[in-house]
């Protein structure tokens, strides 16, 4: 069992710069127009969902919502590298990844609208629901990885968390276990520079978040989290390592939260517009669109068609969500255990079916 302990602490690797200029040779998958269009479309779809969700929340038709504006490349890059047999464990900002995994837009709306049925995914049957407590899903990823090994499934458990999550013991304990047991798990850090109002540099004195892997004896790598190609490429390599029995990897994706923390937050209380404006120049969609335009003949018409499709799809899903009546109240008890304990019969009766 070889253990690499190298950690890149140089500038995060990117293939495309903010202008969409090629910085180095693309990995094979990124030479295909279809693949790049798929990645780009997934990011656009995610952003469309985000803005609809914020709009619904603002008009009182959705609960508190955490937008992934500006960070779409992380979820899309990670999930696009994964296989169906892998298990995905999202934090609350990985809509882009969930959509690629097959969670429907309607399910996402239901979840954020405060309906548990939004977690009853029709497709990625074994993916975990959104984890609201920060960082507690990293141990689950270790457990999922253990189950995959035990069942002989060649899958990998992939968990995504934020920069703030790296301060939680759960993150460290789980990463340490992944190292000690050489489990097929990949932990991805969506480092968007902020944990609500706390800056990345006030969260930890570590120079990079990737170097936290050193504490647990496994490789850590920092990539440009605004370059979907870089994210996907790093994830592919980590998955390959894990699948071939070489154990876990920590990937830090350096990006930026362009929006408020959630719809309940007002980021102008604690950060300058200037900082945000500067970051807008580096956001992930534009650079890929430029590359697509320059190299693959992506046209204005292509762009408009894509936006229209996404909008229609999202609007339709929102309508379906809004038309879904709440569950009967009895469901809150009916789903607690596989079968209702005798002790709860009276309460179930009181709650009734309506």
């Amino acid at each position: 069992m070889a253990r690499t302990r190298q950690t890149r602490t140089t500038d995060p690797g990117a293939y495309l710069d903010a202008e969409g200029t090629l910085l180095r040779e693309l990995p094979d998958f990124a030479k295909s127009r279809d693949t790049l269009v798929a990645l780009y479309s997934a990011m656009v779809r995610c952003r469309t969902f985000d803005s609809k969700a914020v709009a619904l929340q603002r008009t009182g038709r959705l609960g508190t919502y955490a937008s992934s504006l500006g960070q779409e490349a992380v979820g899309v890059g990670v999930a696009s590298a994964m296989a169906p047999t892998d298990v995905f464990l999202p934090s609350f900002r990985e809509h882009g990844a969930q959509l690629i995994r097959g969670v429907t837009l309607e399910e996402l709306f239901l979840f954020w609208g405060g309906d548990e049925r939004g977690n009853d995914f029709s497709l990625p049957k074994r993916d975990f629901p959104v984890c609201i407590p920060v960082g507690t899903h990293f141990p689950h990823a270790a457990g999922a990885a253990l189950a995959l090994v035990h069942k002989g499934v060649p899958g990998v458990a992939v968990a995504v968390g934020g920069d703030g999550a790296t301060s939680k013991g759960d993150f460290y304990e789980a990463l340490n276990l992944v190292g000690a047991w050489n489990l097929p798990a990949v932990f991805v850090l969506n480092n968007n520079q902020w944990s609500i109002s706390v800056r990345r540099q006030d969260q930890t004195a570590a120079q990079t978040l990737a170097q936290k892997a050193v504490a647990c004896g496994l490789p850590g790598e920092q990539v440009d989290g605004n370059d979907v190609i870089a994210v996907r490429e790093a994830t592919e390599r980590a998955l390959e390592r894990a699948r071939s029995g070489q154990g876990g990897t920590l990937i830090e994706c350096v990006t930026y939260r362009l929006g408020d923390h959630t719809t309940a937050d007002d980021a102008s209380r604690y950060r300058d517009d200037d900082e945000v404006s500067a970051q807008w120049k580096k956001e992930p969609l534009v650079r890929l669109r430029r590359h697509l335009t320059q190299v693959h003949g992506w046209s204005k018409a292509d762009e408009e068609a894509l936006l229209r499709t996404c909008r229609e799809e999202v609007d339709q899903a929102a309508e379906n969500y809004l038309a879904t009546p709440p569950e009967p109240a009895g469901e809150m008890l009916a789903n607690l255990f596989e079968s209702l304990p005798r002790d709860l019969a009276r309460q179930a009766e009181e709650l009734g079916d309506g």
């Binding site: 309906d115 609201i132 759960d170 706390v198 309460q347």
Partner: protein, 326 residues
């Protein structure tokens, strides 16, 4: 005197405490420039500086453990847990250290710390942002658990908590943060811990409650008055150790008791109140003791939240049951 909401009263008490005692420090997630997600600490870092009001990394275990260490060495930390749903990583430090430092060192070291946390449902927040698990902490010997139910009580009890020589868990019903406002004198006067508040006197039935449920309970009492039923309403204020005498005295007078809390029924703190009465006031009881509580299930997501929360109607049903019991 100034008109204050509960969140303003909390902030005023924190400012008063920071002002009066240089050893008081505040820390937690986003308590600095952001002023806390509910704005309890708004303006405090500007006024008292970042050495008195500090943002921590995102780690509830370390927030609690830091408070233990700092308080054992002479500071008076007032730490914030952003939502009670995230207090569990702090429980180990509370049970294993904060609650027992004095006992274990026979008084050589102690932990005069306060851990504040917004709690309870009713604001349609995301998962884990709405639970009420005061009973778990109230079972821990060595911890005080204090829950205010009005701006004035928030102000007075929080000051008492900060000045108390032992650890206090201070749970703030977030549903009440901005629900109403009242005149509060920002004069540094504390209210006594361990004493219940009789919010309304009555002769026919005793309603015992705490936290946000005070609202529904008072409303029930008001509606009962319309039908000539006189209900006494007791707000425990301090849940642990609670004012057993006040509850007993009331039930001895009324002979009937309904206990109301938002937390799930089974093992909720209402069980302790009922059990105490079943031991000490049995002969005064004219009817069974009813508890109106949350259901024994996970606090549902927001669409069903209203169906989970004890309502005035459920309280009235229970009152009528105990009144009509023969």
């Amino acid at each position: 005197m100034a008109e204050m909401t509960m969140i303003e009263a909390v902030r005023a008490a924190l400012a008063f405490a920071l002002e009066e005692d240089p050893d008081v420090i505040i820390f937690g997630e986003d308590v600095g420039i952001d002023g806390g997600v509910f704005r309890a600490t708004e303006g405090l870092v500007q006024r008292f500086g970042p050495s008195r009001v500090r943002d921590t990394p995102l780690s509830e275990t370390v927030i609690a453990g830091l408070a233990v260490g700092a308080s054992a060495q002479g500071l008076r930390p007032v730490a914030e847990i952003q939502f009670m749903g995230f207090i569990y990583p702090a429980v180990d430090q509370l049970v294993c250290h904060a609650a027992r430092m004095r006992n274990r060192t026979r008084g050589r070291l102690s932990c005069p710390m306060v851990l504040r946390a917004p709690f309870g449902g009713g604001i349609k927040a995301p998962e884990h942002h709405s639970e009420s698990t005061e009973a778990m902490l109230a079972h821990v010997p060595g911890l005080r658990v204090v829950i205010p139910s009005s701006p004035a009580r928030a102000y007075g009890l929080l000051l008492a908590a900060v000045r108390d020589p032992d650890p206090v868990i201070f749970l703030e019903p977030k549903r009440l943060y901005r629900a109403t406002s009242e005149e509060v004198a920002d004069n540094g006067e504390a209210l006594p811990l361990d004493s219940a508040f009789v919010l309304r006197e009555g002769a026919d039935v005793t309603l015992v409650t705490w936290g946000a449920m005070v609202v529904e309970t008072l409303e029930a009492a008001r509606q009962l008055a319309e039908v000539e039923v006189s209900a006494e309403v007791i707000d425990l204020g301090t849940v642990k150790p609670y004012d057993r005498a006040a509850v007993r005295t009331s039930v001895e007078k009324t002979g009937r008791c309904v206990i109301v809390h938002e937390a799930p029924l089974t093992g909720g703190f209402g069980a302790e109140v009922a059990a105490d009465l079943a031991e000490t006031c049995l002969t005064s009881l004219l009817a069974p003791i009813r508890r109106v509580a949350g259901y024994d299930t996970v606090m549902p997501y927001l669409r069903l939240e209203d169906r989970y929360m004890p309502s005035t109607d459920r309280i009235l049903d229970a009152v009528h049951y105990v009144l009509e019991f023969e």
